[in-house]
């Protein structure tokens, strides 16, 4: 009984109608939170006493960097699920998620560089977290390149899943190894165990932006998955009916 939802997730038809209901609200909620967080953070939050106004890029950089990592975690877990249980929705999720993760990693790199220029005086530092985000970006690009190079759908699904799982196992090791190299970056902004050192009027908008971006990406992924489902299941009768009744 408890596993019913798990099996339902495996059915593209059920998932399609479920996501039809959820995608828009989740996306709109995300946009709203993101807008509040960004306006609040960029315009109204107090200035940092050390970094001045340049710290405000934190409201973009931190949510995006968190997303870049979370997306990969989600990719890895979905891939593992696919390799073990052959769940049909998992490769669709991977296909929908990988480009978003790549964009997040890229924005994190760019915003980090923009932040680095006034704070460190240079666009790029070979610091542990910067380097690992760069590697993360390469991993995403690898998955995307592999998927587009393989014509056979079955093989492309398997290949993307295998490389994501291998990446998930490797990522902590990569992270540990680059930490062994020099570290210049400031400590993590959010930790679950310690009270944040920032005042609430600084971290509340950040929290808002983080939640907003997660929800924004969730909505986006649901939509991308929907279109991928329509593409893959275009021969099945329920898709034809769906398109006839509701249009695209």
């Amino acid at each position: 009984m408890r596993w019913v939802w798990f099996h339902k997730l495996a059915s593209p038809k059920w998932f399609y109608s479920w996501s039809n209901f959820w995608a828009l609200p989740v996306f709109c909620f995300g946009c709203l939170c993101l807008a509040i967080g960004l306006v609040w953070g960029l315009a109204f939050a107090p200035e940092d006493y050390q970094q001045g106004n340049s710290f405000r890029i934190i409201y973009i950089h931190v949510p995006v960097a968190m997303l870049a990592q979370s997306c990969y975690l989600a990719l890895g877990v979905a891939s593992f699920v696919f390799l073990v249980w052959q769940m049909k929705m998992a490769p669709i999720f991977i296909k929908a998620m990988a480009p978003i993760g790549a964009v997040m990693a890229l924005i994190a790199l760019v915003s980090g560089a923009i932040w680095g220029k006034p704070t460190w005086g240079t666009w790029w530092v070979w610091d542990a977290r910067l380097t690992s985000v760069l590697v993360l970006f390469f991993l995403y690009m690898g998955i995307i390149a592999l998927q587009s190079a393989l014509d056979d759908l079955v093989l492309a699904n398997k290949a993307a899943a295998v490389i994501s799982v291998v990446g998930l196992i490797n990522l902590p090791i990569i992270k540990y190894s680059v930490v062994l190299l020099e570290t210049l970056h400031q400590g993590p902004t959010f930790t679950l165990t310690k009270k944040p050192e920032m005042p609430p009027e600084m971290w509340l908008p950040l929290l808002c932006a983080v939640i907003g971006l997660y929800s924004f990406v969730a909505g986006l992924v649901l939509w991308r998955m929907q279109s991928e489902i329509l593409m893959r299941e275009h021969r099945s009768s329920w898709v034809k009916q769906e398109v006839m009744e509701n249009g695209l």
Partner: protein, 220 residues
């Protein structure tokens, strides 16, 4: 087919294709030579940079060698036969990778003293470098072979393999160069060797299964 007859055939094929191994070795040497010529040939630059240069060249040479590991077998249909022969595919892959590792890394170790001399490495740090190669290179092969199996059906797969697999090689390069640097400074480096060994063992356990999945998906 038995495991023994498989290994015998693998070594025979490697022996018949010794030119390929030689090519990988020459490629390795040429990449190493590029650095003194392209950047700086003084010992002030080369001595500290030597381990990094050698490891980068090794990584590239290994990927070139690994990329061709399944290509021939895929073309002549023997990869298909490995899948259906009733033996354990992960074990066959493990044996194949070990054979290839021996064929590439042993000659590499043999010419290493020569390159060490060319890059002005002291004998202590050359020794450390060779140990890191011996301990760390299995993980290069085991990770690379996953990429090779995934891209075996693509005609021009070599660049894709590089893109997929090179990021995974960063830790091996970092641990190895740190080990050699420690040796150059006269510090103990067994901790780094332990990390390299751990990575090799982890990839030895996981990679044959992942590669088997990839091979099965590729031969259809």
């Amino acid at each position: 087919m038995t495991y023994f007859s498989f290994v015998r055939a693998e070594f025979l094929v490697l022996w018949r294709r010794k030119q390929d191994v030689l090519n990988a070795l020459l490629f390795f040497v040429i990449v190493v030579v590029l650095f003194p010529i392209g950047i700086d040939s003084s010992s002030e630059f080369l001595t500290p940079a030597a381990s990094g240069i050698i490891w980068c060249a090794t990584v590239l040479a290994v990927l070139m060698a690994v990329d061709s590991l399944f290509k021939e077998d895929y073309r002549d249909g023997s990869l298909e036969q490995l899948v259906v022969c009733g033996l354990s595919l992960p074990l066959l892959i493990l044996l194949k990778v070990i054979a290839q590792w021996l064929a590439v890394i042993l000659p590499l170790l043999v010419i290493m003293p020569l390159l060490g001399e060319m890059l002005y490495l002291s004998s202590a740090s050359l020794w450390a470098l060779m140990v890191t190669l011996l301990v760390g290179s299995p993980s290069l092969f085991f990770m690379g072979v996953i990429g090779a199996a995934l891209t075996v059906s693509i005609k021009q797969g070599a660049i894709l393999v590089m893109l997929l697999i090179l990021p995974f090689y960063l830790p091996v390069i970092i641990f190895s160069t740190l080990a050699v640097k420690a040796a150059q400074a006269g510090l103990p480096y067994s901790g780094f060797l332990a990390m390299l060994l751990a990575m090799s063992l982890l990839s030895l356990v996981l990679s044959p299964f992942m590669t088997a999945i990839a091979v099965k998906a590729s031969v259809n």
